[in-house]
């Protein structure tokens, strides 16, 4: 397993929003996380990326990096954990004072201190890959939502992370722009990236995932292949959620 997580818990004050989460992901696999609003999906992703610090939990990476959050973890290990993954936000969070190209080069250039020529070449390739070859010199406020999100994906890829995290990457988009972003993510699946995707696009999750986690109330209620969890759910809460999301008109 690339990463194994055991007993992950997270509280905000009295409010325990993640409760005893266990799961593992293998290299090159795709996990989708689905579940109702407030169930803790975002918080789970953010714990993987140090944006939130877990209250408890043991993270073990296949390369040996181990973080035990029931004890005090040191800053260096946290930075190592952070640098393993790239994150794509629901609201893009592009740097408004930098062009699309500069958004993408920032990480490799400043954090990884790589050669400028090499980084520019890499960034141009990535932007071409996400279909923004002719938008590289535009600022975020000159781009549509779908284009901004594709820059966001290129920016996350540029640091060459081992793990890609997506938090509802299409939720802020107009319906006609969702497809262009999902297509880019699908390309990444085919390239063999290891990814965890929080999404409300159930059909998409069923198509691309190796495994689906259904979360509710801070627990993983059901997990398994899309055939199991999405096409043939066992838990009543999963059924109810899928029903509601697949037939929205009836509620």
């Amino acid at each position: 397993m690339y990463l194994t997580i055991k007993g992950l818990a997270k509280s905000f004050g009295e409010n325990e929003v993640l409760k005893n989460i266990d799961f593992a992901i293998d290299k090159g696999k795709v996990i989708s996380i689905i579940g109702p609003s407030g169930s803790g999906k975002t918080t789970l992703l953010r714990c993987l990326n140090t944006l939130e610090q877990p209250s408890k939990g043991l993270f073990t990476f296949e390369d040996g990096l181990t973080l035990d959050f029931s004890k005090k973890v040191n800053k260096q290990d946290l930075l190592k954990l952070r640098r393993k993954s790239g994150m794509v936000f629901q609201s893009y969070n592009l740097f408004p004072h930098k062009t699309a190209l500069e958004n993408v080069t920032e990480g490799p250039l400043i954090v990884q201190r790589r050669n400028k020529k090499e980084v520019t070449k890499l960034a141009k390739e990535l932007l071409t890959k996400v279909g923004l070859k002719d938008k590289m010199d535009l600022y975020p406020n000159q781009l549509s939502g779908g284009q901004q999100q594709r820059v966001g994906i290129a920016r996350a890829l540029a640091i060459q992370p081992e793990l890609m995290l997506f938090d509802e990457p299409t939720s802020a988009l107009d319906p006609e722009l969702i497809g262009e972003v999902l297509r880019v993510i699908k390309d990444l699946v085919n390239e063999g990236w290891t990814m965890i995707i929080v999404t409300h696009e159930i059909q998409f999750a069923a198509q691309v995932s190796d495994e689906v986690l259904f979360m509710d109330g801070g627990y993983i209620v059901e997990q398994g292949s899309p055939d199991k969890v999405i096409r043939n759910p066992q838990e009543p809460r999963t059924k109810q959620f899928l029903d509601r999301i697949l037939n929205p008109g009836e509620y």
């Binding site: 990326n49 140090t50 944006l51 930075l79 952070r82 640098r83 993954s85 790239g86 994150m87 936000f89 609201s91 969070n93 592009l94 740097f95 408004p96 004072h97 920032e106 990480g107 400043i110 954090v111 990884q112 600022y139 975020p140 406020n141 920016r155 996350a156 540029a158 640091i159």
Partner: protein
């Protein structure tokens, strides 16, 4: 009404007055160029550096770093500028620290700008959405790098309009330096008025000169702000 009219005409617009107005212009402008403008510029630049340092200290996660900054800002904002000037110029000699009028003014005004501008800079930093910090972290940056590369450039744009207001206020505040014997624009007006008894004429003349300076500055401010709008985040 007619009494007021005739007073205004006799004091301001008589031929003698007009001569005095013209002959005072040069000394006042000289005072402005030699002292008012340098004092404003130097105090503003030094004050800004101080403000940046103070703002960094105030957003630090370490308590003992924050505390001196909080005390400094509170003390400066809680006391009159005139009193601060008097402490530096008339007060410190009691400790055998004698500083000339102009450097005294620079010290007091820099400290003053430093405190007010630090609050502007801090507020600008806090106004940048949390997502910008997080985006910096997720591409591997540390807090310091994120602050320097992502937050400060955006905060600078936010802080320029309020900082230019501080700058314009500073121009006017430098007239207080006349009270610690800096022969700046207003001190010149006072000196001539003391000699000629034409207080109204000379003080109105000084007011006009400040007005012209501030008006020109506000034009520059408008141009800068219009430029910045183009880059503002959506």
């Amino acid at each position: 009404m007619s009494l007021l009219n005739s007073m205004l005409f006799s004091t301001i617009l008589s031929a003698d007055s007009w001569e005095l107005f013209k002959s005072s212009l040069l000394p006042m402008i000289t005072g402005g160029i030699k002292y008012t403008i340098p004092l404003t510029l130097i105090a503003f630049v030094v004050g800004l550096l101080l403000a940046l340092l103070t703002a960094m200290m105030r957003i630090s996660s370490i308590r003992i770093v924050r505390i001196p900054a909080i005390i400094y800002v509170s003390a400066v904002r809680g006391t009159p500028l005139l009193v601060q000037l008097f402490i530096v110029f008339y007060g410190l000699p009691n400790l055998d620290i004698k500083i000339d009028p102009f450097p005294s003014a620079i010290i007091a005004f820099s400290l003053n700008v430093g405190a007010y501008a630090s609050e502007i800079i801090r507020a600008s930093i806090l106004s940048i959405p949390k997502g910008q910090w997080e985006a910096g972290y997720t591409i591997g940056m540390t807090r310091t790098t994120t602050l320097r590369r992502i937050i400060l450039p955006q905060a600078t744009r936010v802080s320029i309009p309020p900082l230019s207001n501080t700058f314009i206020s500073l121009v006017k505040d430098t007239s207080l330096a006349s009270l610690i014997l800096v022969t700046e624009l207003f001190r010149k007006a006072q000196e001539i008025a003391a000699r000629t008894y034409e207080f109204l004429l000379l003080y109105v003349e000084a007011a006009l000169l400040y007005w012209v300076i501030c008006f020109l500055l506000s034009l520059i401010q408008e141009v800068i702000e219009r430029r910045l709008e183009k880059y503002a985040a959506k």
